[in-house]
């Protein structure tokens, strides 16, 4: 090992201010230097020539430098944090779709009036989808509830047409 890698200056930077005297600093530095040298000289078992050749053959077999984009994306997707984030986003989107379906659709449905009521001093006129469902054979049905006088009972009359407006219908209910 090159001693300049673990110089006294670097040691002082690492452990600066922890030693009472320059002698103690020097002594500690030397004891750590022994450790670093031991590590540096520790033998590393070597790969055999056959292992090296096999590793090269397998690693070079499918070099994908021509299509780094695909591999980069695949490698990115294999990262747990990215997968988790994508899962969260997908879950959020599904939740939005579900909640949207629950909240927006009834609202949209509610926005479509089932019937409309028109008030006048002695009469109320009902029109809308409910009446069309109740009297499907009558075109543009409307029910008028009116009183002839303040004290008289209400009278219900269905108005509409048949045969595309050819016949006018007035039906006391």
């Amino acid at each position: 090992m090159n001693d300049s890698r673990f110089s006294l200056d670097e040691f002082e930077t690492l452990f600066g201010g922890k030693f009472a005297s320059p002698e103690e600093l020097q002594r500690e530095y030397e004891s750590f230097l022994v450790i670093v040298e031991q590590m540096d000289q520790a033998p590393v078992p070597e790969l055999s020539a056959r292992e090296k050749a096999d590793i090269f053959r397998r690693a070079w077999q499918a070099p994908s430098y021509e299509r780094p984009g695909i591999w980069a994306w695949l490698a990115l997707l294999r990262r747990p944090a990215v997968t988790f984030a994508l899962g969260m986003i997908l879950g959020g989107l599904l939740m939005l779709v579900y909640v949207g379906d629950q909240s927006i659709t009834p609202a949209a449905k509610a926005a479509e009036p089932q019937f409309a009521v028109e008030h006048t001093p002695y009469a109320r006129t009902y029109t809308g989808k409910v009446l069309q469902e109740l009297y499907p054979q009558v075109e543009n049905p409307k029910v008028v509830v009116e009183k002839k006088q303040e004290s008289s009972p209400p009278q219900r009359v269905l108005y509409g047409t048949l045969d595309e407006g050819e016949i006018y219908v007035v039906w006391n209910l």
Binding site: T13, M39, A42, P45, L47, F56, A59, P63, P68
Partner: protein, 195 residues
Amino acid sequence: MKDRHDSIPDTALVEAARRGDRDAAARLYHRHIDRVHRICYRIVLDRTQVADCVQEVWFKVFRSLGQFECEESFAAWLNCVAANTAIDCYRKWRRRGRHIDIDEVPVESLPAEEPDDGQELDDALTRQRIEKALKEITVNQRTAFVLRYLEGMTPAEIAAALGCREGTVRTHIRRCLVALRAKLAVESNQQGFGP
């Protein structure tokens, strides 16, 4: 005799390998394989895992040659890939629960070419002692130490490789040194080794 290919700079070999030149890739590989293996071994610290780890490094290297900027040092870039891949391999291996403490390896599982003379026995024992001490510190501390003192990278390069600040690298190194000294001292006392 000095091989005439040794004078070809890494960047030229990288360029050729990018074009699909297998010989250039092989030249590059053989030039750096021992260093990559050394880095991986000192981080993974397991003979049975290191070959897979080294293969993963070279697979990544060949796959991403297109992303390598020729202005930077290929060796430094390779060190970063090797260190990060080795950290990933070590963590995956630990998560899978296949970690076996060196003391727990049964005698019959030791390779047949075990040392048969005094020097080799000493080497094996020293390696075992150092590996045991290294295994007991965190992989980040170990990596910072290996890259700084055993591979000669600067703290700035290590910080860039590990994606942390230089101050963090120094902290890793300081803690690693203190822990190693303490553990090796204990080991020496137990086994009768001198410092």
